[in-house]
């Protein structure tokens, strides 16, 4: 005879067991198969990262990716620092090579070299060396670079055509650059206020650096050829380049003055068709692709005594605090596989760091502006990097303050150079590179 109460107890026990098994299973799956991924960028980039995440989850159905999107780059940097400080960063984050050093120095990033060595999807040799080198901290690859962008000249073809000015050539000189900018600076209504500027540029050391290198100068004085000990802006070559750069505004007036820049930023002026040339990295492409009032393209930076460009590169980094490092690496590996890099490259935002993808249609799509995307690949051999030191962010901020003063005619170049060197000196003390 069956005993109903014991049957009930057995059923309840079975249900409880099933529940425990189920919840345990779910918890185990969540623990071992979830990755948080934090990015910045405009809606087009976000769409690409969403596509990247979806493609990854299709290939790895056991791993769920939580995409955390911060629209503004400056907000992203603050969030990144705050999250690391709180000990709760996203598992995978994008960091620029100028900004990862403080995190690497404090040991809060997981070195990715061992993971890359074990990977059968990607290897160190698949990447442009100029992209991976800056992410080596104490000789070890810390992050996997996503892109290998650099500073180029965006130009408004319509304004060039209207002024009868030839488009920039691949090997144009500083003088030709200035002549072009002068020819495209105009005050058609004659009210004494420039309505169209030949050039827009952010007066920062990051924009000035390639011109210093082109003139044979250096950014930093290196001790024993390795460790940067101070800025080297007081060399003759660096001073000349700085004077030339500053004179673009103060003497030639081809770039907006402080008032005009405050009233409307140079990028906005370019996008609105009132600035003929604008210096920016590949980062400007998704926004520029929304221009419908004129045609635009990109050209190489003008050449000084020698060719030189400056690397702009972000990389996928893994937080050392990540619980499921295998899952996080699986995502980084996928994002840096040819499939993953092609998805992001199609937005126009990146110059892929994978050699294979950089030469593919995902990047060199003839149907997508700019027509001359190849310029980013043609100038790869000339790219250089700023010193990778923990306090570089401070150096950039302080030098920017001083350089802006000179660029807008509020201080002489000599004063600015002296201040840049003196004020940044403490940040080089005890640095490694």
């Amino acid at each position: 005879m069956r005993n109903p109460p014991s049957r009930l107890i057995r059923s309840l026990l079975a249900a409880a067991l099933a529940l425990v098994t189920l919840t345990g299973g779910v918890a185990a799956q969540a623990d071992s198969g979830s990755v948080s991924f934090m990015v910045f960028g405009d809606p087009a980039e976000l769409a690409a990262y969403r596509e990247l995440v979806e493609a990854f989850e299709q290939e790895h159905p056991d791993i769920a990716v939580e995409l955390i999107h911060i629209p503004s780059m400056s907000d992203y940097r603050l969030r990144l620092g705050a999250d690391f400080a709180a000990g709760d960063p996203a598992d995978v984050v994008l960091i620029n090579y100028r900004r990862y050093a403080p995190f690497a120095k404090k040991g809060v990033l997981e070195p990715l070299a061992p993971y890359l060595r074990r990977s059968d999807v990607i290897s160190d040799n698949d990447f442009f060396p100029v992209a991976t080198d800056p992410f080596r901290w104490r000789g070890q690859l810390m992050c996997i670079p996503q892109n290998i962008s650099s500073l180029v000249v965006y130009y408004n073809r319509g304004l060039f055509d209207a002024a009868g000015v030839a488009y920039p050539s691949d090997d144009w000189s500083w003088d030709e650059f200035l002549e072009t900018a002068l020819a495209l600076t105009a005050d058609p209504d004659g009210d004494g206020m420039t309505d169209q500027h030949g050039l827009g540029v952010d007066p920062s050391i990051f924009r000035l650096a390639p011109f210093i290198w082109q003139n044979g100068g250096e950014l930093a004085v290196l001790e024993s050829g390795l460790r940067p000990i101070r800025l080297a802006l007081d060399s003759r070559a660096a001073r000349e380049a700085t004077e030339w750069f500053v004179a673009l505004q103060t003497e030639h007036g081809v770039a907006p003055d402080a008032l005009a820049e405050m009233a409307e930023g140079s990028e906005s002026r370019f996008l609105n068709g009132r600035t003929a040339m604008f210096l920016n990295s590949r980062r400007g492409v998704p926004t520029a692709r929304r221009i419908d009032g004129f045609e635009w393209d990109v050209a190489a930076l003008p050449t000084g005594v020698q060719q030189a460009g400056i690397l702009h590169s972000d990389a996928y980094c893994m937080a050392a605090a990540t619980e499921d490092k295998d899952a996080a690496w699986a995502f980084i590996e996928f994002a840096n596989s040819p499939v993953g890099q092609a998805i992001v490259a199609r937005t126009g935002r990146t110059v892929p760091s994978l050699i294979e993808v950089a030469s593919s249609e995902a990047f060199l799509d003839p149907g997508a502006a700019p027509a001359n995307s190849g310029v980013w690949l043609d100038t790869l051999d000339t790219l250089r990097t700023v010193p990778v030191i923990a306090a570089w962010v401070d150096v950039e901020e302080l030098t920017g303050d001083e350089l802006r003063r000179a660029f807008y005619g509020q201080a002489s170049v000599d004063e600015a150079i002296d201040a840049m060197i003196t004020r940044t000196l403490p940040f080089f003390a005890g640095e490694e590179s």
Partner: protein, 294 residues
Amino acid sequence: MRRFSLSWQAGLWAMLLPYLVGTLLLVGLPALMSAILAFTTYDALTPPVFVGFANFRLLAADPIVTTAIGNSLVFILLAVPLRILGALGLALLLLRPRRGVSGYRAAAYVPTVIPDVAFALIWLWIFNPLFGPVNVALGALGLPQPGWLADAETARYPFVVMSVFQIGEGFVVLLAALRGLPREYFDAGAVDGAGRWGSFRYLTLPLLLPWLALLTFRDIILTFQWTFTPSFVMTGGDPYYATMFLPLLTYEEAFDRFRFGAGSALMLITFLLSAAIIGGIYLLFRRRGYTADV
């Protein structure tokens, strides 16, 4: 009577307790910890290291800190009197019942409830050196058009002007104070032949003095902090630190550069400066004015 008094006291404490606990946990304790951090170097990634007064010595040698202190003091010197005078003027103007006065009172309060970031963005446009309505109007009148936020000489003034439009709370407090002044004093003054000015000078102003003192203390504390959002949103401290105020510098040190020790030291300096100014003003007000109970 004694029992009633005790329970009354107990009731007051019971009502005060949640606020006291909240203040202690959410303000007092963090402030104390922050004050301790001022004597350390701390980047939040590695444990803090005690460095004594090193942060203060470094800050004292940093010209940007001196500039930020100077900017903050000048701002307080300009903004606080204008804000108090503005609130008093509006309260006097809108005291008497008249047609539409409620609407005017609401209009005076509205700028105070606009979110700070939106308020800053509105003024960023108003003071745009080329396209802003202020300079367009000045140009139309044939007057010089300053660079405002783009010029180190003039960059602080838009902040002062902005702050004078957010005086709703002071206005309401003074309006309430004015409405509470005893009518008999003014009737007696009128009998003695006091005119409008005499009545204001010898009755209204002294009677309002405790309120004005209270508002001034509050405004000094508030104004020290108020500069953060507009300077963060509108200028970032530019041009060349002309709008670098203590709160923005503190924020940059702590949350941008992750030097929490230096940031905490700056916070302590701000606190001590506020206390010193309030102490000075207190001494100034202490023996002046009288209350309605006199």
